[in-house]
Amino acid sequence: MLSSRKKAAAASLFLSDLHTGSHGRIAAIRGGWSLRQRLNQVGIHPGDSIRVVRGGQLGGPVLIHIHSTDVALGNRMAAAILVDLDEA
C-alpha cells in the first residue's frame, strides 16, 4: 500500500488517511472560513511541512508535528487538509 503511494507522489492525500510517521507538506486546506481560520491560528498553512505523530485511519483524531509544535486535530478537521507526501 505504501509503495503504491510512493509511485503516485503527485496526488495529494487527506491528512486523516495518513499513517503514523508519514512526512509531507500541506497542499491545501479544503474548508470554509472558520475552519481555515482555526487552522491558520495555530500555525497550520498550505506549504508547511508536517509529520504525522499519530495517524487517524480508524476515525480517531490525528496528532501532527508542525513548526516544533504538536497539534491534535479532530478527524473531520484532518479530513479537510490535503497533504503531499515527501518522497521517502
Partner: protein
C-alpha cells in the same frame, strides 16, 4: 515603507491615563505564561493550567512593582485578532473598548514562529507595546537560540526574556514596561509583500475617508475586513453597504491575483513574514537528544491507540482510589467530632426546643460542608491540579476525542466530565473552556449527570453494601451509557457548527507545589463562598421542617411519584433532602425508615430503584446555583427537567426489570 499606525484619537485620550493610572495588559497566545506572570506580581488570583485557553475571563489587579503602580490585566489568550472562541472575543472587545496604556505581548519562546503571527497583528493596534519572550530557558533546551537584540531591532520594540515559572527577570520586564510608559515611542507595523500591501493601503485610504473617527486604526480594520472578520465587520454598521461593496472589490483583487480566498492570502502573508522574522533572529541547533527523545517517547506511549487508554485508565483509577482512601481516612474523625458536638449541643439545649433545632441545622450544614470539602474536594483538587500542571489533560482530550464525538462534543469537553466525578460545581465551572454555548450546555448536562463524590457515597453505601460491588459498578456503567445517550440526543437537537478539535498539545512540565496549593485554594474558595452557604441554609430548612412537620405534607405530595417508582411513601422527604445535599438522601433514608438495616424494610429491587433515581434526579442546590450562573436560568431549568425525566424513566424501567437484573448482576 513604514506605517505609523498610532491613531491620533486614541493617543490623545490615552496620554492622560498613561502616567496617572497606567493600565498594562498581558496579551499573548494561549498557554504562553500570561497568568503565571500575573500571579507572580499580583499574588495568586488567576488560574494557570498546562491546558491551552484556561483563562476565560480577564483578571485585573492593582499592583505595585518597585515603587511604581499600575493596573495589571490578564486577558484570555488568543491566537490571532480574529476571534472565533468566546474567550477570544472577550479579549478583542477589551482591546477595542477599554483604554490600554501598554501591551505586554507574552510569547512562548519555544513557539516563537507561530507567536509572531499574533505579534504582527498587535502591532497594527498602534498601542505602546513590548515583547516578553517567556520560557526562554526551555527554548534553549529545545535547541532554539533566539537573539533578542535582533528581534528587537526587527520589530522596533523592546524585547525582554523571562522565565516566569521560576520568577526570573519579571522585575526587568516591568522596569522596561514602566520605562516605555514614560517615554512611549510610536509602534510600526511591518509591510506585507508589495501587491497585498497595495491592496491593504488602498482599502485603508477608503476607510480613512469614509470613517474618519475610529477607535481602532483604519489599517487594522482594512486588514481584518479583507479577512472577512465578522467582529470587525460590525464596525462598518449601521450604513456600511457602500463600504462592504468596496471591501468585496478589494477582496476579489486579491483572490484573482493569488488564486485563494482573500483571508488565506492575508494569513499566508503573515505566516511568511513571521517565519522570515523567526529565521532572522533564531539559530536552531539540534536539541540535546535525550531531552527531545524523552518527550516523544513518552508521548508515543501516552497517546498510543492501545497503551494510551491503558495508561489513562490506570491513572484515573489510581487517582480516584487515592482520593477516596484519603477521604475516608479523613472523614471518619471529622464526623466523630461533629457527632460529639451535636450530642453536647442536645444536652445543653432543651430537647425539642426551636433553638435546638436551629442549632442542629446549622451544625449539620457546617459539618456537611467540612465533611465533603476537606476529605474529598481538597484532595481531589490537589490531584487534579497535579494532572493539569504536568500537562496530561490535553492528552486525555486527544484520546477521548473519538468517544466524545459520539456524544456530540469534542475531546476538550472531557475535562468537565472528569471533574464531575469529584463535585459537579467545579465541573460546571470548567465548561468555560469550551468554545460555543452549545458545547458548554451539553457538557454541563453531562457534568450534572456524572455521579459526584456525594452520590458515590449513596451508590456504595446502599447498592454496594446491600447488593454487592458488581451492582455498584453496574450503576456507574449505566451512568456512562445514559450520559452518552443524552449527549447524542442533545447533539441531534442542537446541530454542531464547529468542525472539530484543534488543540495544541503543550510540553510536559514539572509542577510546582506552590502553584498547586494556590490553585487548590482558589478553586475551593469558590466552593466555600458559593456552595457552602447554600448547604447551611438547606440544613436550616430541613431542621425547620422537623419543627413544623412539613415532612407529612411533602410525603403526601410526592406519593404519586413514589407509587410509580414502587417505593415506600415514607421516604418522600429524603428526596427533598437529596436536592439540598446529595449525601443526605442516604442519611435521611435511614432516619425516615427508622432503621439502619435498610434491607429489612426495602426489597433489593427498591434499593436499586431508589439509588438509580437519586443518582440522576436533580442537581443539588449548589450545582443548580452554579448552573444558572454559567449557562443561564432557562438552560439550568431545562437541564434539571431533563435529568428529572431521565430519573423517572430509568426508575420505572428498572423497577420492572429489577428482578431479572438482580439475577444478572
Amino acid at each position: 515603507m513604514k506605517h505609523d499606525t498610532m491613531n491620533r484619537n486614541t493617543l490623545e485620550t490615552q496620554s492622560a491615563l498613561i502616567l496617572e493610572h497606567p493600565r498594562i495588559i498581558l496579551l499573548g497566545q494561549p498557554n504562553s505564561g500570561k497568568s503565571t506572570i500575573f500571579n507572580k506580581v499580583a499574588g495568586y488570583r488567576s488560574i494557570t493550567t498546562n491546558f491551552p485557553g484556561v483563562t476565560v475571563e480577564y483578571t485585573s489587579s492593582h499592583v505595585a512593582i518597585g515603587g511604581r503602580t499600575c493596573d495589571l490585566i490578564d486577558l484570555p489568550g488568543i491566537y490571532s485578532l480574529t476571534a472565533i472562541e468566546r474567550a477570544a472575543r472577550e479579549t478583542l472587545h477589551y482591546l477595542i473598548e477599554e483604554p490600554v496604556s501598554l501591551i505586554i505581548n507574552v510569547i512562548d519562546a519555544t513557539h516563537l514562529d507561530r507567536s509572531l503571527e499574533l505579534t504582527l497583528q498587535l502591532l497594527e493596534l498602534g498601542k505602546p507595546m513590548l515583547l516578553c519572550l517567556n520560557m526562554i530557558d526551555e527554548a534553549e533546551r529545545k535547541g532554539i537560540r533566539i537573539d533578542a537584540g535582533v528581534l528587537s531591532s526587527l520589530l522596533k520594540l523592546p524585547v525582554i526574556t523571562t522565565n516566569a515559572a521560576q520568577g526570573l527577570r519579571i522585575d526587568a520586564l516591568f522596569d522596561a514596561a514602566f520605562d516605555l510608559l514614560h517615554a512611549p515611542h510610536p509602534v510600526h507595523s511591518l509591510p506585507m509583500s508589495r501587491h497585498v500591501e497595495q491592496v491593504v493601503e488602498a482599502l485603508d485610504g477608503v476607510l480613512k475617508r469614509c470613517l474618519p473617527l475610529q477607535r481602532i486604526s483604519s489599517r487594522l480594520l482594512a486588514i481584518k475586513l479583507l479577512e472577512s472578520d465578522p467582529f470587525f465587520a460590525l464596525q462598518l454598521e449601521p450604513d456600511g453597504t457602500h463600504l462592504r461593496t468596496e471591501v468585496r472589490h478589494y477582496q476579489s483583487i486579491l483572490e484573482e491575483a493569488h488564486g485563494q480566498p482573500a483571508d488565506s492570502v492575508i494569513s499566508a502573508e503573515r505566516h511568511a513574514l513571521s517565519l522570515h522574522l523567526f529565521e532572522q533572529c533564531t539559530v536552531v541547533h539540534h536539541p540535546r537528544r535525550s531531552w527531545h527523545q524523552w518527550r516523544s517517547r513518552v508521548d508515543q506511549l501516552v497517546m498510543h491507540p492501545v497503551w494510551g487508554y491503558v495508561i489513562m485508565a490506570t491513572v484515573l483509577v489510581l487517582f480516584f482510589n487515592l482520593i477516596f482512601k484519603l477521604g475516608a481516612l479523613l472523614e471518619q474523625p471529622i464526623l466523630t467530632l461533629f457527632t460529639r458536638s451535636e450530642e453536647a449541643l442536645t444536652a445543653a439545649l432543651p430537647t425539642g426546643s426551636f433553638y435546638a433545632y436551629i442549632a442542629k441545622g446549622l451544625l449539620q450544614g457546617i459539618a456537611g460542608g467540612i465533611a465533603v470539602v476537606l476529605p474529598y474536594l481538597i484532595p481531589f483538587l490537589i490531584g487534579m491540579a497535579l494532572i493539569e500542571d504536568v500537562g496530561y489533560l490535553p492528552r486525555i482530550a486527544f484520546l477521548m476525542d473519538n468517544f466524545m464525538h459520539r456524544i456530540g462534543l469534542h475531546g476538550t469537553a472531557v475535562l468537565p466530565g472528569i471533574l464531575g466525578y469529584g463535585c459537579s460545581v467545579p465541573a460546571i465551572m470548567a465548561t468555560r473552556i469550551l468554545p460555543s454555548p452549545r458545547d458548554r450546555f451539553i457538557a454541563a448536562v453531562a457534568a450534572v449527570l456524572v455521579p459526584c463524590s456525594a452520590r458515590m457515597t449513596i451508590i456504595f453505601g446502599l447498592v454496594g453494601y446491600y447488593l454487592g460491588g458488581t451492582a455498584a459498578l453496574f450503576i456507574y456503567l449505566l451512568n456512562i451509557v445514559v450520559v452518552a445517550l443524552v449527549g447524542t440526543l442533545l447533539a441531534h437537537l442542537m446541530p454542531d457548527d464547529t468542525p472539530g478539535m484543534v488543540l495544541v498539545i503543550p510540553s510536559y512540565k514539572v509542577p510546582s507545589l506552590k502553584t498547586i496549593l494556590a490553585k487548590t485554594w482558589l478553586r475551593s474558595r469558590d466552593f466555600v463562598l458559593f456552595a457552602w452557604p447554600l448547604l447551611i441554609a438547606g440544613s436550616l430548612v430541613l431542621s425547620l421542617s422537623e419543627v413544623y412537620h412539613w415532612n407529612r405534607a411533602i410525603n403526601s405530595a410526592l406519593a404519586p411519584l413514589l407509587y410509580v417508582l414502587g417505593l415506600p411513601p415514607a421516604i418522600g422527604m429524603t428526596l427533598i433532602f437529596g436536592v439540598l445535599r446529595k449525601e443526605l438522601s442516604m442519611i435521611m433514608l435511614i432516619q425516615a425508615l427508622g432503621t439502619t438495616q435498610v434491607n429489612t424494610v426495602m426489597s433489593p429491587e427498591q434499593i436499586l430503584v431508589f439509588t438509580i433515581f437519586v443518582v440522576f434526579y436533580f442537581p443539588c442546590l449548589a450545582t443548580f446555583g452554579i448552573l444558572t450562573r454559567e449557562v443561564g436560568w432557562k438552560e439550568a431549568l431545562a437541564a434539571s427537567l431533563l435529568t428529572f425525566s431521565i430519573a423517572v424513566v430509568l426508575g420505572v424501567v428498572v423497577r420492572f426489570i429489577a428482578p431479572w437484573l438482580l439475577q444478572v448482576i
